[in-house]
Symmetry: C2
Subunit: 397 residues, 2 copies
């Protein structure tokens, strides 16, 4: 009816929609909060807030929760997000295991299930994935909005349309996972790259909550990077940004299966760590083994971590130069070794990064641990839900 191609048109419906979202957002962030405080924080008129709040209550998005402390006058009625108004199902589809969680619309984990996978064929994995989702879905408490969305993170190249073009470590090519899931569940579906999801998870619920410019490094078998720029996930033209694993840090260095040479992930990933440890006489060790050895002051293990940390530092220095970020967060399976890697990472960065950019940046470990990725998916699910639902309900009823 309106809002064509470019530059949406503004009318009072849009105004109401935006203000309602603003009120809801304020409650989400500052709950418990009174109507009066919302008016003060947002700058909206008290009457406007009252009327929007009563709509939100009717729609079960929020509810009152008794009175708060008086500050010298009538005691305020506090408002809370109605966390149990709906639930999400979010899955981290890894190479060796699949982690699925159910959360409420506030992002609290209600239930989770993890299964191991050895056969990575599309057929087998999708079977496992479906039964995992079915299992979570069956046990969802009843609620006004039910399951509000299902999302899956995959270690691969995903288009903005949710098609998996390539997932090398799964051996997948051109898999229409989003369509498959929609076909089966008829619910809003999200399929997203694993590094992007991890970045968003840490941004919304984790170490990056107060940074608008943050770079999340997912260092596992390979390296993927998720970019939060200007407070939004940056995906590039078709969704393929963040292929930092294939950034050349040694011109004409080692040949990568991607066709490039000297790729960062050949020197600084979990794979690189394991290879380096073999070269130092530590064969068939897992990361956990190596961490244990290094903690017991094994010289070879220590050397390996120092070497990998140094290479990580080279790439991170590049990241700092390129983005002038506020925060760089390291996640993925390699994060297990962070305490051992950090000294040499920091040494390299301090030596090599330009002062101005270095001064601005904080280097941190992901603090949601194995949940970074699933919770990113959860955040996508919830955002999607509020964006589409808050408005339609208010117009529709």
């Amino acid at each position: 009816m309106s809002g064509d191609m470019k530059g949406q048109t503004w009318n009072q419906h849009v105004v109401k929609k935006e203000n309602k979202t603003l009120v809801l957002q304020t409650i989400k962030e500052k709950a418990p909060i009174s109507r009066a405080s919302i008016a003060q924080v947002t700058g909206l008129n008290k009457g406007t807030v009252s009327s929007l709040v009563s709509e939100l209550i009717d729609e079960d998005f929020i509810h009152e929760s008794g009175t708060g402390e008086s500050s010298g006058g009538r005691r305020p009625v506090m408002l809370l997000l109605n966390e149990k108004a709906g639930f999400t199902i979010s899955v981290d589809l890894g190479v060796n295991k699949i982690l699925g969680v159910m959360t409420d619309i506030s992002g609290n984990r209600i239930m989770e299930k993890e299964i191991n996978v050895d056969d990575n064929s599309v057929y087998n994995v999708s079977d496992d994935l479906f039964s995992l989702i079915d299992h979570l879905k069956e046990q969802a408490p009843s609620s006004r909005y039910g399951i509000i969305g299902i999302g899956v993170a995959v270690p691969g190249v995903v288009t903005t349309e949710g098609e998996i073009l390539l997932a090398p470590n799964l051996g997948w090519k051109k898999v229409q996972l989003k369509d498959m899931l929609y076909e089966r569940y008829k619910l809003p579906i999200i399929v997203e790259n694993e590094a992007n999801a991890g970045a968003y998870g840490e941004f919304i619920y984790g170490a990056g909550q107060n940074s608008k410019e943050l770079i999340y490094i997912s260092a596992s078998i390979g390296i993927g990077v998720g970019l939060i720029l200007d407070g939004k996930l940056y995906k590039g033209l078709r969704g393929f940004s963040g292929e930092f694993g294939h950034m050349t840090i040694e011109k004409d260095g080692l040949a990568c299966r991607c066709g490039n040479r000297g790729c960062w992930e050949l020197y600084a990933s979990e794979n690189a760590l394991l290879e380096a440890s073999e070269q130092h006489g530590l064969k068939n060790h897992s990361i956990t083994d190596l961490v244990t050895k290094a903690e017991m002051r094994d010289t070879n293990a220590l050397k390996v971590f120092e070497q990998i940390g140094d290479y990580l530092g080279v790439g991170i220095t590049n990241i700092i130069h390129i983005f002038n970020p506020e925060q760089v967060i390291i996640g993925g399976s390699l994060a297990e070794g962070i305490p051992l890697l950090l000294p040499s990472i920091k040494k390299r960065i301090k030596q090599n990064a330009i002062g101005f950019n270095l001064d601005d940046v904080h280097l941190n470990e992901a603090n949601l641990n194995k949940y970074s990725v699933v919770l990113g998916i959860t955040a996508f699910n919830i955002e999607n839900f509020f964006r589409s639902t808050v408005k339609e309900v208010s117009n529709g009823v």
Copy 2:
């Protein structure tokens, strides 16, 4: 009075402001255009468009320009941007010369002046800069809004507040150029990094007009990069993004004066080109000399361009992997040699870049030539003007 900290509040004033801007934008882009067409394109009601248009005419932003062709009914009255409602002064402050242009608010160049500089001290340059601006300012035609803004691009690190922290090739540190200019002219001032300005210039007026994701490489003495992401200039936390010149492409490679090692600009800038040519026995040649020689099939000169192009390709491959851009534009003084560099750049990229990302990207030469940077500044000036003025006038009168 409203619209506090986060999440602006929406009311009818905002609606009008946005719709008015939308109408103006539509006229800028599609002029000459009738009221009826604007209504159709924007989705706004015919009456709304009529009333907004009549305000814009009162404010001299646009004017009617006779009737257009009938399409089977009453002939439309065509609307045009009133290009001469105001003028900008935009300056590209280079190491060897200063280029200043005056443009109208449509970005047409009205006048220009270029001067050479040999003493780069702040004192001397600011003197030259002031007299250059004075000269342009004096000759500005009289107009409703006069000089709407003054902007300067500098080859250095500029904060979001317009302070020049460091301009190594000028030998400047901590120069409050924005304040100095405001003190003198009491007009809206912009001070911006040269690569950022170049990127914006090509984005608005040049080769990148239809790309929302574009990377501009300013290859001169060093390398700077301007990032247009999601249709906006990306500046990072404090404005220091795009320091691609100091991206490591050879770990522990050549030492750079920035403190890092193996920086891209040591291998792929104008400086690198000149050094490489000396190593090939071509001493004291300018780029122009080398281009001439190479065009006459001088083997050494050809080799030099091939080598530098190859290194450029390495960095551009990284850029393609990192951003999944729609377009990469090469500008700066090195662009003079583009026809000679392109073959080896393209060869490297085709060999090394990941297919998905490679398929999306177009590699182009800047097409505004020496005006990329000044016109970027012009675009900033104009945007600033419309953002602040369109609205205040309509509320204020």
